[in-house]
Amino acid sequence: MTVLRRLRGDRGFLAGAVVALLMVLVAVAAPLLAAAAGQDYTTYHDNLLDSARGGVPLGRFGGLGAEHWLGVEPATGRDLFARVVYGARVSLGVAVGATLLQVLFGVLVGTAAGLGGRWADAALTRVVDLVLAVPSLVLAISLLAIVPTDWPRPLLLAAVIAILGWGGTARITRGETLSLRTRDYVAAARLSGAGRFRIARREIAPGLAAPVLTYAALLLPTNMISEAGLSFLGVGVRPPTPSWGQMLSTATTWFRADPMYVLVPGGLLFLTLLAFVLVANGLRRALDPRQSEVLR
């Protein structure tokens, strides 16, 4: 396929894909990796901290060494490597979950609006407009703060991010559907007696795949930033569970005393985001060469 060929020739995409894949593997294999390091993400190591100086890790580079590959967390002495790989789980998991939900929601609503009657379209478009007009960060903070604290946090985060962010997908899907349904081949299918659902499945859906996929690829890093931001603000995942954004938020008080604690999660977050942006960019260029020139 030409798409694959184009992707294979895109160095940025390849680099991004390798890093992104690696991060996904890290997230999936977090328990294995932590076990391989001989650590887990909860055990305290008070003996590795300088309590009089606020609990900063003893030794250079945040206590980095053979025991603790990336050093330990200040104030607790928990293994930073273990926490970072488990953090990848949350950061990626929430982002992927939110993206899937957004796409599911967006595509359902978008196609329903695009293929439904005039009233369905008008009503759904209103709803989408409403979703798009909602100040999402503001509302996300309010929502997450109101919801009882014993609800499963990562799921909740994914849901909230998705609920506030499916408008774009819906709008794009609707636009794309509206444009696809006026194509002559849809008319031809109708003439040959195909029903509404057959047309949606056979004629419209394949055409939606590329634009939706491209858009979803861009949503993923955006959602990751949202998760990190919300955790940073303290309404994201609850601290016993590590997430990069939340680690960064604790790290802000340590940036001088223990720079490793900022650099490790911060660097990883940046690297992963960059990887996903590169993948999204590559996908867009490959799937829709003309469109990519417009969007770039």
């Binding site: 940025g12 209103r126 407009d129 409403l130 007009a133 909602v134 100040p135 960060l137 503001v138 509302l139 903070i141 309010s142 929502l143 703060a145 109101i146 919801v147 009882p148 890093p221 930033i225 990190a228 931001g229 940073f232 603000l233 309404v235 954004g245 960064l248 938020s249 790290a251 802000t252 940036f255 001088r256 900022v262 911060g266 977050l269 940046f270 985001l273 960059l274 996903f276 942006v277 590169l278 960019n281 020139e293 417009v294 969007l295 770039r296």
Partner: protein, 329 residues
């Protein structure tokens, strides 16, 4: 035009009511009780009931919401000790936590958020368009590659990470800039800008990336259009073609985006304000959320919603003004 504005206004009212209803509903469902915080340590149940009554949160949610809507439309009176306080329309109520009128709190904080958002937007536009033009004109050369790389990186850094690094570098390590603290523009313009510089940069990164990308694409796209070929065929110099024709077309989508972004930036400045300790609307919200300060949360959310709707309308009008082909629908 008038019809258009009326329709837009209707939509806005709908959105805002939806938002406020949502928040009221959620707060009612939530287990938190704002009266407990207000009542303080050592509050007995009797006392709590009295406080709850004084705050008006002992009424059913529907009644509270009805009061809220009535206050919004026609103002309302609050008991306040010896006399009653009148809260004129549009009344968003009084903060549970500080007993200040929410409208005043918002007006107090708005200049900070506006300074932040406007400055960041100006910065992003300047840098973004500049980079985009350079990149668009030097397509696929090293300059273009560098800009492209920066654009991608710009998409990949969260605001708080940039903010953190900027603080670390300029305030702690080099000590070139003071730790940001808000100084009103009217008091001391220089100090205003100096203090806001880092927040601006932090906030502008993503927008800069977006604008650079859009400008580059716009220039490419417009340069490929046939009327540019016509201009060339009639001997117009390249510079004139780029500045008068290509950029005009390229900036068209930017106009809309800028107006919408301005609202988005203002409402998403929460992170920046929290991180730099700027007393803006975002900081107000974050504090209010933790204090279960419903009137303030509703107020901020409505303001944000209003800003977004207004920005969308302005964007449409601007687009109409800039592109003669567009009709308002």
């Amino acid at each position: 035009m008038i019809g258009y504005l009326v329709r837009r206004l209707g939509g806005a009212v709908l959105v805002l009511f939806g938002l406020s209803l949502l928040l009221y509903g959620l707060f009612y469902l939530a287990p938190s009780d704002p009266a407990i915080l207000t009542c303080g340590k050592g509050c007995t149940p009797d006392r709590l009931a009295e406080v709850r009554h004084a705050m008006g949160v002992d009424e059913p949610a529907a009644t509270q919401y009805a009061h809220f809507v009535r206050g919004l439309v026609g103002g309302r009176d609050y008991p306040a000790g010896p006399a009653t306080r009148h809260c004129p329309a549009p009344c968003l109520g009084y903060s549970f936590e500080t007993d200040q009128p929410v409208t005043r709190l918002l007006l107090d904080r708005l200049p900070v958020s506006a300074s932040l958002a406007l400055g960041a937007e100006v910065l992003a536009l300047t840098a973004g368009i500049g980079a985009g033009v350079l990149s668009g004109l030097h397509r696929y050369r090293w300059l273009d590659r560098i800009v492209n790389g920066l654009v991608l990186a710009g998409y990949a850094v969260p605001v708080f990470l940039v903010g953190l690094l900027l603080l670390l570098l300029f305030c702690v390590q080099l000590q070139w800039l003071p730790f940001p603290s808000y100084v009103p523009l009217t008091t001391d313009p220089l100090a205003w800008a100096q203090n806001l510089l880092l927040p601006w940069v932090a906030l502008a990164v993503i927008q800069t990336a977006a604008y650079a990308r859009l400008t580059r694409a716009g220039i490419q796209e417009t340069l490929a259009e046939e009327h540019i070929r016509t201009a060339r065929a009639y001997g117009l110099p390249e510079r004139r073609i780029i500045w008068r024709r290509a950029l005009r077309g390229a900036l068209l989508p930017l106009v809309t985006l800028t107006a919408i972004d301005l609202a988005a930036v203002m409402t998403s400045a929460v992170l920046t304000e929290t991180m730099f300790g700027l007393p803006g609307v975002g900081q107000l919200l974050v504090g209010a959320v933790n204090q279960i300060d419903l009137p303030v949360v509703v107020g901020v959310t409505l303001l944000a919603g209003l800003l977004i709707v207004a920005a969308n309308t302005v964007a449409d009008l601007l687009y109409r003004a800039v592109d003669p082909r567009v009709e308002l629908r």
